[in-house]
């Protein structure tokens, strides 16, 4: 079986609010699939319908070939879930939590190496309530992996973590995929989606506005690169405008920004400056990001 998840025409309404408005997509086995979008875009509702924790109002969901509503218990034997909002009893110890969750499944892995791998071995006798945010999150990942699942759901994995812990978490996600598992994650950090995901669905107001690999999404946007540098004296901007691919040159004090497209843009700009004998410093290029894609598609700024 090639696909892990098939969603067709999924729709979910809470009272007056349409949380998910008819979305369809497929997740392939072995990939890291991401859903990105602002808070309230419908990501968590979608993920919970796929896990079988919520009943869709319309549409069909097939997860690992099962109907999440009808075969919920069977499905949960085979998936690992990290929920956006959940907790454990305050006074449960780390080892008790993994040991107990292991007993909930027909099949489970040895929890000792698992805690080791997640850097929790030294915290095994610590109460849940006394763990830091990052440690709690790693414990929840341990619980999501305790049954050696085929498919792992990570909902807003890094929200509330500091940048260092976030990077450590990214490595964990790559490790999970290395083991041949499929990963479905949601995030509202565009950078996170860009770094982690093989394919990304951009959602806004309960709809998918784009779905592809981050590179293709960025390329399809046809967005301009920017070459930014500083100069100390006046120079002939016309020489820069003449470089192939350049669309616009902006000067703001010492700071010059050249907009343009094409792989030779940077070389062309540097060449033109050298030829014109213009001394420059601090030259760097800025690539368009998923953030720009989101902005272009929805007209909204997203901020983590």
């Amino acid at each position: 079986m090639e696909t892990a998840i098939v969603v067709e025409g999924l729709r979910k309404v809470y009272g007056e609010v349409v949380a998910v408005d008819g979305i369809s997509f497929e997740v392939r086995r072995g990939e890291i699939f991401g859903m990105v979008g602002p808070n309230g875009a419908g990501k968590t509702t979608t993920i919970e319908c796929i896990e079988g924790l919520r009943r869709p109002d319309e549409g069909t969901v097939t997860t690992l070939g099962l109907d999440p509503q009808r075969d919920g218990y069977e499905l949960r034997e085979r998936i690992g879930v990290q929920l956006q909002e959940s907790a454990l009893p305050n006074r449960i110890k780390v080892w008790e939590a993994v040991d107990m969750f292991a007993s909930f499944y027909r099949r489970s892995v040895d929890w000792k190496p698992l805690l080791e791998r997640l850097g929790l071995a030294e915290k095994r006798n610590t109460d849940f309530a006394k763990l830091s945010g990052g440690q709690k999150q790693r414990l929840f990942i341990a619980l999501a992996l305790i049954n050696d699942p085929e498919l792992v759901f990570l909902d807003e994995l890094t929200t509330g973590l500091d940048p260092q812990a976030r990077r450590a978490m990214w490595q964990l996600v790559f490790d999970i995929r290395e083991q041949g598992k499929t990963v479905f994650l949601t995030t509202h950090f565009m950078e996170e989606a860009e770094r982690l995901c093989d394919r990304v669905a951009i959602v806004d107001d309960g709809r998918i506005v784009a779905l592809d690999s981050p590179e293709k999404l960025v390329r399809s946007l046809g967005a301009e690169k920017r070459v930014v540098f500083s100069v100390e004296r006046a120079f002939d901007e016309a020489a820069l405008r003449a470089v192939p691919g350049v669309t616009k040159v902006e000067r703001n004090g010492e700071r010059v920004t050249v907009y343009g497209t094409g792989d030779r843009l940077v070389g062309g700009v540097v060449n033109a400056l050298e030829t014109g004998g213009v001394p420059f410093r601090d030259l760097r290029t800025e690539q368009p990001t998923l953030e720009d894609v989101f902005l272009a598609l929805t007209g909204k700024q997203i901020r983590g």
Partner: protein, 247 residues
Amino acid sequence: MRGLRKLTWVEAKLFLREPAAAFFTLLFPLVMLFIFGSIYGNEPTDYFDGHGAVDVSVPAYIAMIIATVGLLSITINIAVYRENGVLRRYRATPLRPQAILAASVLVNLVMTFLGGLLLILAARAVYGLHFEGNAVGVLLAFLLSALSFFALGFVIASVSPTARVAQVLGMVLFYPMLFLSGATIPWQELPEWLRRFSEFLPLTHVVTLLQGLWFGEPFGDHLKEVAVLLGVLVVGVLITVETFRWE
């Protein structure tokens, strides 16, 4: 099954790690016993129909433990689990909801029983507690009383929108029952109109049933109490099944 066993074991440890629950279930009844035992002793008196104060108090305090666990421990525990997202996390596993409820009932039943047992052992050792009933009968009455109060606790937890509301509701039911059911203050002390009011409190029936059986009265004399408690149990279970929420 393995999941239920582990969950029950972990919940038992968690119960004992929670100072308030452990204290009020296991130690507080002993404190009551020793305070009032040292005041009134356990000499048979006409006031208690020829029984000693301790003999009368022990089944009444067992009723108090049942109410504490049912209305306070279970209610708060389930409501907090729901509010914090513990139940949500359990739900994302193959664990059946029945297992969660069963573990909770089992652990709380054992703790209530332990609280009663400690009380009985202490009362026997220190005050020469008298028991004139049939142990199996008293055990059955204990079981019925505990289960019906646990059901009441689950109902409060299920219908309360937040853990805080559940806690307040539990206390609102608990305190009048504690003082007016005969569990702490002997019913002989209550004026006639209060006694009539206390007929409406389920705990009054637990006290009457346990005290009656304790002193050797047959079950047949207490069909009313049994019926009331069975009713509370059945209605409580039905309401819980209808209103139980994971989040």
